[in-house]
């Protein structure tokens, strides 16, 4: 990281979007720095929803969105840490 980061205040995260979340946000990934009071997946979704109209559309029904932190499933109350890879996606439909 070139820019100095106060970890108590801003948490650099890599956020990934899949399927219709990506379509609505308009990108497949982004680096974000939410404020220090954003400590859980649920709080991150609420914060992301305010970043653009597309984000708002993507996160308007957080209950149906699945999340993974560092490629393992995580619930809305899971804690996020600086440097985490946080992915949001709809319920899976493979197989």
């Amino acid at each position: 990281m070139n820019q100095p980061v106060n970890r108590a205040i801003n948490r650099p995260l890599k956020v990934l979007y899949f399927a219709w979340l990506r379509d609505r946000v308009g990108r497949s990934e982004e680096d974000v720095q939410p404020p220090g009071n954003v400590t859980t997946v649920g709080e991150l979704m609420a914060w992301l929803a305010r970043q653009s109209d597309g984000h708002g559309e993507a996160f308007k029904d957080p209950a149906i969105i699945r999340c993974a932190i560092n490629q393992d499933y995580a619930k809305a109350d899971a804690a996020i840490s600086a440097g985490d890879e946080v992915a949001f996606f709809p319920p899976v439909t493979g197989g």
């Binding site: 899949f18 490629q71 709809p90 319920p91 899976v92 439909t93 493979g94 197989g95």
Partner: protein
């Protein structure tokens, strides 16, 4: 063994390799998933499978390990494709080998139920020139849930 790939797979060769030289394997249960042309009123022209590289392999390896823990299996195979597929194309192959046919059957059904609800794949259907993300089936959640309470019958 886990394979996540864009290329098609050869079912006969994959299943033969799974039991080759394994003297105690008498049972090979397998499942092939194909792209169906049943998208409702229109006709399905193609389906694109998106996935989450890295997490997919991680989830499928955990699934493989869990099947090997729960049943007396020799080997587990999961091959899942991604990318653009046409009706009739192969999507997935799951197989379990064992000396007991009940273990092989149950493990194979378990693999598919969990794969349907945990492996990070998403289907985008192209129907009548429009693209639609396929919605998850509640049936699949119910099918996966039975493995959380049931004790395997054949351990």
């Amino acid at each position: 063994m886990i394979k996540v790939q864009a290329e098609d797979f050869d079912v006969g060769a994959e299943l033969a390799a799974l039991s080759r030289g394994r003297a105690e394997v008498g049972a090979v249960a397998s499942f092939i998933g194909l792209v169906r042309d049943v998208a409702g009123p229109g006709e399905l022209s193609a389906m694109t499978l998106e996935h989450y590289p890295g997490m997919t392999e991680r989830q499928l390896e955990q699934l493989e390990g869990e099947a090997l823990d729960r049943w007396p299996l020799d080997k587990v195979l999961i091959i899942h494709r991604y990318g653009r597929l046409l009706p009739g194309d192969q999507i997935v192959l799951c197989a379990a080998t064992s000396s007991h046919r009940e273990a092989a059957f149950e493990a194979c059904a378990f693999l598919m139920d969990w794969l349907k609800t945990k492996a990070p794949f998403w289907k985008l259907e192209e129907v009548d020139g429009k693209s639609n993300w396929v919605a998850a089936r509640q049936d699949d959640d119910a099918a996966a849930a039975r493995w959380q309470t049931d004790t395997p019958k054949s351990k």
